[in-house]
């Protein structure tokens, strides 16, 4: 029996890869669904204490092909095995008729990317982990530029690929340092006290940089809005929903490896988390392109999970098991929430893009009238991702904030107050951002496009429906979360066996009472809705203060909605206004336009790269083309080496 679980895991991986290779859609979809289903089964069984470790040493030239399935890996594998089939069906719906070749290439790349993605949580050897990590980066890149071969798309893809490769290099360095501590590439808990040595510090910094780049935590988030703002929405859903999570998974693994993390580690991760939560939230309020908006919202959510992680790290270093448990539980629930809802939002954005053909929020409006189901799914996604009460997004944020409270009340870690206010402020900003996007895109009247009745193919509607059902199911029964979280908490806290399974969740995180109160409020709302519907309703055009020629463009636009916040945070946001030139007695007709760029990329990295490239260009005269100069180099090297050895 011992060998059954890993065997079917590997078989499932093979299925996923083969599903990509097959040309027709139907068999490949069936294969992918069955493969992911098996993996889902494996992870559920791993949740029920059926963890396994298998090592096939002879496989790789060096190191070994080792797999280890434990509770934390199972938790990440759950969403990672559910989403790919959904995204593949959506991709088929989107490109199936119009561009079958592209659909077939998308399936191929998605199959490979999913297979390499599913390896990472179970990889138990450094080489194998890094191998899968880079494969995901390469296939992610090919997916991003699959849709369109313009220079802009390729540039965005290039930024993604280069930063992922840099993160791989950081990880290799970190794993090598770790190998010096526990001898050999296998993942094992590090010796006590090693974290405080020089190598330990360097290893932590490298791990943090590597994982932060991959999970889009600022200041390394610059690639995320570029890549996800350009990529086709189902690819952005795949990478925002899943690929970004393996960066966070890395942090969870790091938390497990280090028995005694110093406290400044928690401070470091908190700083990164707060930075990316606030930057992500502020930037997302001012975006005009709704796919970039969703990308910045991903950066914000990653920041919130990083804050939860910092609380967990603080808990472990102050050995407060409750604080650590809250941090981990909050982080994991928020990851699950983001894994389900962000793809839903991206798929909805993809459908909007298909209908209106434009990514600019200013041109949209009144979509709720044409696509009521689409509007409802975006609304549901928005409510859930902002953590607003009725849906289960609130449970994640609630546990994180409970952890923050626990941090400064009982554990005396003052910085968790900053964690609390960052989560709250980022949350309220994202409420505005999502209200603005939903309001401008779906409500009111259509600003530029004549509302034409184009229907979305069923293959695109089904995936969104499934995701909506997932969200609603978990929101109705948040009680299923504690039992699934319990094995993970036990994994992290072998030392303290006093924490028996359920009381932790009952007295510290009373989900039952929360659920009861929320149900009451929902019923009250339903009653009031019935009461309003009962009254006689007359319909008239909106009251227009008597202004006769009223055009829909007079409606409040996205940038005007965000104007107060934009001016307030103008120091952080890079915002270029092109003011209309109204000079002269009869000014020519002109236009007012604003352009918002990502501060880190536009002011930070691009000038730095241009400057250094210019600097290096000066060194290129060394290859000046004259043969004597080259021979002079040889003589100089010879003399230098002779002087070094003989003198």
């Amino acid at each position: 029996m011992y060998f059954l679980a890993p065997a079917c895991f590997l078989f499932a991986l093979v299925l996923v890869v083969v599903s990509g290779v097959i040309r027709q859609f139907r068999p490949s979809a069936i294969l992918l669904i069955s493969g992911c289903g098996i993996i889902f089964g494996c992870s559920v069984s791993a949740m029920l204490e059926n963890t396994w470790f298998v090592n096939l040493p002879y496989f790789l030239p060096e190191g070994s092909f080792a797999l280890q399935m434990d509770a934390i890996a199972a938790w990440f594998l759950l969403p990672m095995s559910l989403l790919p089939p959904i995204l593949m069906v959506y991709g088929e719906g989107h490109w199936g008729k119009t561009n079958p070749l592209l659909a077939q290439r998308y399936r191929l790349l998605l199959g490979f990317a999913t297979a390499s993605l599913l390896i990472i949580p179970v990889a138990a050897h450094a080489i194998f982990f890094v191998l899968a990590w880079e494969l995901v980066a390469i296939f992610g890149f090919l997916l991003i530029i699959a849709g369109d071969t313009s220079d802009k798309a390729r540039h965005a893809g290039w930024i993604y690929l280069a930063s992922s490769h840099a993160s791989v290099m950081c990880l290799i360095a970190a794993f090598c340092l770790m190998a010096t501590a526990n001898g050999g590439g296998f993942f094992a808990t590090l010796p006590v006290g090693w974290a405080h040595t020089g190598a330990g510090k360097a290893c932590f910094l490298l791990f943090t940089i590597g994982f932060a780049i991959k999970s889009g935590i600022s200041p390394f988030h610059f690639w995320l809005p570029e890549a996800h703002g350009i990529a086709p929405c189902q690819v952005a859903a795949f990478s925002s929903g899943l690929v970004v999570k393996i960066g966070l998974f890395g942090f969870f693994r790091l938390l497990m490896w280090v028995p005694d993390p110093p406290l400044w580690w928690a401070g470091c991760i908190l700083l990164l988390g707060v930075l990316s939560a606030l930057l992500g939230a502020i930037n997302s309020v001012v975006q005009k392109d709704y796919t970039r908006f969703l990308a910045f919202s991903t950066v914000e959510n990653m920041g919130v999970v990083a804050i939860a992680l910092s609380i967990a790290f603080a808990g472990k270093s102050l050995n407060q098991p409750v604080l650590m448990a809250l941090g981990i539980a909050g982080g994991l629930v928020h990851v699950l929430n983001h894994c389900i809802i962000k793809p839903l939002l991206f798929l909805t954005a993809g459908s909007i893009l298909r209908i209106t053909g434009s990514r600019n929020l200013e041109l949209l409006g009144g979509l709720a009238k044409q696509q009521p189901r689409l509007a409802f799914s975006f609304f549901l996604g928005a409510v859930c991702i902002c953590g607003l009460p009725p849906l289960f997004g609130f449970v994640g944020k609630w546990i994180i904030l409970l952890g923050a409270f626990e941090g400064f009340t009982n554990s005396g870690w003052i910085w968790s107050a900053i964690a609390m206010s960052a989560v709250i402020f980022a949350g309220s900003l994202s409420v505005i951002a999502f209200a603005r996007t939903f309001g401008i895109a779906f409500l009111g009247e259509s600003r530029y496009f004549r509302p034409k009745k184009t229907s979305i193919p069923t293959l695109m509607k089904r995936p969104m429906l499934i995701l909506v059902l997932f969200a609603v199911a978990i929101s109705i029964l948040p009680m299923i979360l504690p039992p699934t979280l319990q094995p993970v908490l036990n994994l992290y806290d072998q030392t303290n066996t006093t924490m028996n399974p359920f009381p932790f969740f009952l007295n510290i995180v009373p989900i039952g009472q929360l659920w009861f109160l929320t149900c009451l409020l929902v019923f009250l709302g339903a009653f009031l809705w019935w009461r309003v519907k009962k009254t006689v309703i007359r319909h008239q055009p909106t009251w227009d203060c008597g202004y006769a020629k009223n055009s829909p463009r007079i409606q409040y636009t996205a940038s005007s909605f965000a104007q107060i916040l934009r001016d307030l945070f103008s120091v952080v946001l890079l915002h270029k206004k092109a003011p209309p030139n109204t000079k002269g007695v009869f000014p020519a007709p002109s236009q007012f336009s604003t352009e918002s760029h990502d501060m880190m990329l536009h002011n930070g990295l691009n000038p730095a790269f241009r400057g250094s490239a210019g600097l290096l260009a000066r060194l290129r005269i060394a290859q000046g083309g004259l043969l004597p100069i080259y021979l002079l180099y040889i003589v100089i090297t010879l003399l230098a080496l002779l002087a070094w050895t003989l003198a």
Partner: protein, 311 residues
């Protein structure tokens, strides 16, 4: 009947009664105070009850561009208001449905009501409502950290993350930590005025749409929707008012003393708002964020003071 604490059922009924009947009365008091200060007789105290009753019987006129979001706005206002009132301890020592971490629930319910009211106002496609929605949402988002840092201070002081026990601890040891709590009170009063769009931030009685913030969001609501909107606003006034009142009231944990004290506090608060509105004029829009930052700083210093002094 003279036991120190109300049984659960009595407490629940008390909370429901207060939540349903008291809020319009607060509007009555404010209107009456403003009128008396201006030398007028002013509308009777129960005028807003009559308005709400009349509106409930009228028909609804909906604009063609609106969808379900327009209807959901006012309903969300009422539902979240009632939800918060169930969780916040009014007279007694704890609230009927209090659970650890309900502070967070309160904050996010406020967020939910803000989200739905913004959607409702954007739905009509009228630019004034968008203007009002943008302002209201932005300011209350900026105010939320102040609210939460105050709650953090109370939680830190009392050791509980549930509002009931927290306010009980604050009330029962009334004297010894007054410094930090005065700062928190200052911060919260600014938050209170912003959340309910009272005078320094928005002129409820004003009629120039460009200047309005809260009123303009209810512009197109009619009939029961308008009733719910007005009742929701007053409920929000009550709920945020309770936060302010409970932080200054000592608790004797005897119900027939605490509840009258609570009602007296509310009346006093309404009186104070009325006076404020008849004395001050509306502030310029660009200076509002500065005041909000002041509120956040006040709460932060309150929190730090608490944290640094030995408990």
């Amino acid at each position: 009947m003279l036991t120190a604490e109300l049984p659960f059922l009595a407490l629940l009924l008390a909370h429901l009664a207060v939540a349903i009947f008291v809020p319009p009365f607060l509007f009555g008091i404010i209107a009456k105070v403003k009128a008396l200060v201006a030398g007028r007789k002013g509308p009777p105290l129960i005028q807003s009850y009559r308005n709400i009753a009349k509106l409930l019987k009228k028909q609804i006129v909906l604009s063609m561009t609106t969808t379900w979001a327009f209807l959901a706005g006012p309903i969300a206002l009422v539902v979240t208001g009632l939800g918060i009132s169930m969780v916040i301890p009014m007279g007694g020592t704890e609230s009927p449905f209090g659970f650890s971490g309900d502070m967070i629930f309160v904050a996010y319910l406020l967020g939910m009501s803000r989200f739905m009211s913004v959607l409702a106002s954007l739905d009509t496609g009228n630019s004034f409502e968008g203007l009002g929605a943008a302002r209201d949402a932005t300011w209350s988002a900026l105010a939320e950290p102040a609210l939460f840092l105050g709650m953090g201070a109370i939680a830190f002081f009392s050791g509980h993350t549930s509002l009931g026990p927290a306010f009980f601890a604050v009330g029962s040891t009334w004297g010894n930590a007054s410094g930090p709590f005065i700062l928190v009170l200052a911060g919260w009063s600014i938050v209170f005025l912003v959340e309910n769009s009272r005078i320094p931030f928005d002129d409820p009685a004003g009629h120039l749409e460009l200047a309005m913030v809260h009123e303009v969001m209810l512009l197109d609501h009619s009939g029961p929707l308008r009733a719910f909107a007005i009742y929701g606003a007053s409920l929000k006034l009550l709920v945020t008012g309770t936060l302010l009142v409970r932080i200054c009231l000592p608790i004797k944990s005897v119900w027939w003393l605490d509840w009258p004290a609570y009602f007296g506090g509310l009346a006093l608060l309404a009186l104070f708002i009325g006076l404020l509105e008849s004395v001050l004029a509306r502030m310029r829009l660009i200076r509002v964020p500065q005041l909000l930052v002041a509120a956040i700083l006040a709460c932060t210093f309150g929190f730090l003071l608490l944290f640094l002094e030995p408990k």
